[in-house]
């Protein structure tokens, strides 16, 4: 719904006294302003506009004369003009006030005024406290934030270090677990009974997860073809496992027997692989001892 307000430029002319000679129009507008609050507010805003133009120096000479000789005659409008100037001073040159305040403490009069503000105004401490309080709060907030960030970073570094250690530990545990839970055990036998001291024989621990043992027997001397391998224990007469195997021979001529040994018949005891060449008359068999421990 469009309001039925007069044109702003007409109101401006009215406020500059230019409608006073047009009695009918002037009376009509005065009457409307009196009884129409919306129009009355619009008139006030145009008054402000004229004052702004006045301070901006954008009035033409005719308007300036009208302002000086008519518009600014009422003390209320002069007060409005002063206030508009004060407002501009505050927003356009805020440093002026700060500079004035730097000079002010030297003046006793200013101190008196300052005291009056402090003790007689309705909310003096709030208004003085507010800017400083805000600054202090800002500083505290900044320091608090820095401390927080620093502690967070410190904690983060500590946590990262712990995490790295935990990862390392975890990796080793995984390896251990893998080893522990591996279905294959490795057993390397280098010295036969005649070469060992009999006190430190190799040792294997067979866990429930162990399915077999990968045995690696290093042979002494030149390879003579296939070998007969028997597994003997103290508890049983005769071998509990036997196989004829061909050795693996490296480029340098070293020979070794590598084979998988099932664990089904192994018991916690000292066991011995009896290795002999399949070639008749090639010498005495050799015994490779090892200790087994079953953990079921």
């Amino acid at each position: 719904m469009k309001s039925n307000l007069p044109d702003r430029s007409l109101v401006r002319q009215y406020l500059l006294g230019r409608l006073d000679r047009n009695k009918e129009l002037e009376d009509q507008l005065s009457n409307d302003i009196l009884f129409n609050d919306e129009l009355s507010e619009m008139v006030e805003s145009i008054e402000d506009e004229i004052i702004d133009d006045c301070l901006d120096g954008t009035l033409d000479s005719a308007d300036k004369d009208a302002v000086d000789g008519y518009f600014l005659r009422p003390p209320e409008r002069k007060e409005k003009l002063r206030f508009a100037r004060l407002l501009r001073h505050h927003f356009e040159k805020p440093h002026d006030l700060a500079e004035a305040r730097l000079d002010a403490p030297l003046s006793n009069r200013t101190n008196v005024i300052q005291e009056r503000i402090d003790y007689r105004s309705a909310v003096p401490w709030q208004s003085h406290f507010r800017p400083y309080g805000q600054i202090v709060a800002l500083i505290l907030l900044s320091v608090g934030s820095l401390i927080y960030i620093f502690s967070v970073r410190k904690n983060q570094a500590r946590l990262e270090s712990l995490l790295a250690r935990e990862r390392e530990h975890s990796a080793s545990l995984v390896t251990d677990a893998q080893l522990l839970q591996s279905p294959i055990l490795a057993l390397t036998l280098v010295s036969d009974r005649s070469r060992g001291d009999g006190t430190q024989i190799p040792y294997v621990q067979i866990k429930p997860s162990t399915k077999r043992i990968m045995v690696d027997i290093v042979l002494q001397g030149p390879s003579l073809g296939a070998y007969d391998v028997h597994l003997e224990t103290n508890a049983e007469n005769g071998p509990i496992w036997s196989a004829r195997l061909l050795p693996l021979i490296s480029d340098s001529g070293d020979a070794r027997l590598v084979f998988d040994l099932p664990i089904q018949r192994l018991k916690s005891d000292v066991n011995s692989f009896v290795v002999s060449s399949a070639v008749p008359g090639s010498g005495r068999p050799k015994h490779y001892d090892f200790r087994v421990k079953l953990t079921r």
């Binding site: 702003r8 009215y14 406020l15 006073d20 009376d27 005065s30 302003i33 009196l34 009884f35 009355s40 507010e41 619009m42 008139v43 006030e44 805003s45 145009i46 402000d48 506009e49 006045c54 301070l55 300036k64 302002v67 000086d68 008519y70 600014l72 005659r73 009422p74 003390p75 209320e76 409008r77 002069k78 007060e79 409005k80 003009l81 002063r82 206030f83 508009a84 100037r85 004060l86 407002l87 501009r88 001073h89 505050h90 927003f91 356009e92 006030l97 004035a100 305040r101 002010a104 009069r109 200013t110 005024i113 009056r116 503000i117 007689r120 105004s121 309705a122 909310v123 208004s127 507010r130």
Partner: protein, 189 residues
């Protein structure tokens, strides 16, 4: 001096009579009086009168003198306005012989301490404004040249147009001005 001698003041008796004419109820009468006063003083300001308060008193004096003849007046404001217009005409006739003030636009000399006090009051009053009003008044007065024009254009877009912005600024400035006047009075007394 002639103007001073011609100055008339509203007597307590005249004021009481005027109030009774407005309403039998004291509260309503005072409220009505304040409304009539505000509107007629504004009228005299609009007409460029140097002393709107005095002209209003003169208007009431005249109305009080005529109350017997307008006892049944249904619209006191309209009646008072009619009288005020005549008072204004009379003022215009007398005004011609009065020398105009000098340059009233140029900054007048003001005690530095009073000026500082006003600025302090202004800061305080700005702090008491609603955040939205404080923001808009700061932006409205911020910037220079084209920046200022652009800022005001953006502000106008934000509040529903140039006229809406002017009205809003007018209200905020009025609130601020009244606050600063009160604050300054309190501090100086």
């Amino acid at each position: 001096m002639a103007a001073q001698e011609a100055k008339r003041t509203l007597t307590p008796e005249g004021f009481g009579k005027f109030l009774r004419w407005l309403s039998e109820d004291d509260e309503l009468a005072v409220r009505e009086y304040q409304m009539i006063r505000m509107k007629l003083v504004r009228f005299f300001i609009h007409k460029g009168c140097a002393d709107p308060d005095e002209l209003f008193d003169k208007t009431v004096d005249i109305v009080v003198g005529k109350i017997e003849s307008c006892a049944e007046c249904p619209r006191p404001l309209a009646y008072c306005y009619g009288v005020a217009r005549n008072v204004w005409y009379q003022d215009v006739r007398e005004r011609k012989s009065v020398t105009l003030d000098g340059d009233v636009v140029s900054p007048e000399y003001q005690d530095t301490n009073v000026q500082e006090l006003k600025l302090q009051c202004l800061e305080r009053c700005l702090g008491q404004l609603a955040p939205g009003d404080r923001d808009i008044v700061a932006k409205y007065h911020g910037g220079q040249g084209r920046d200022k024009i652009e800022i005001r254009r953006l502000l106008a877009d934000g509040v529903g147009g140039g006229n809406a912005l002017r009205i809003r600024m007018c209200r905020v400035r009025k609130e601020l001005r009244m606050c600063v006047v009160e604050c300054t009075k309190r501090s100086l007394n």
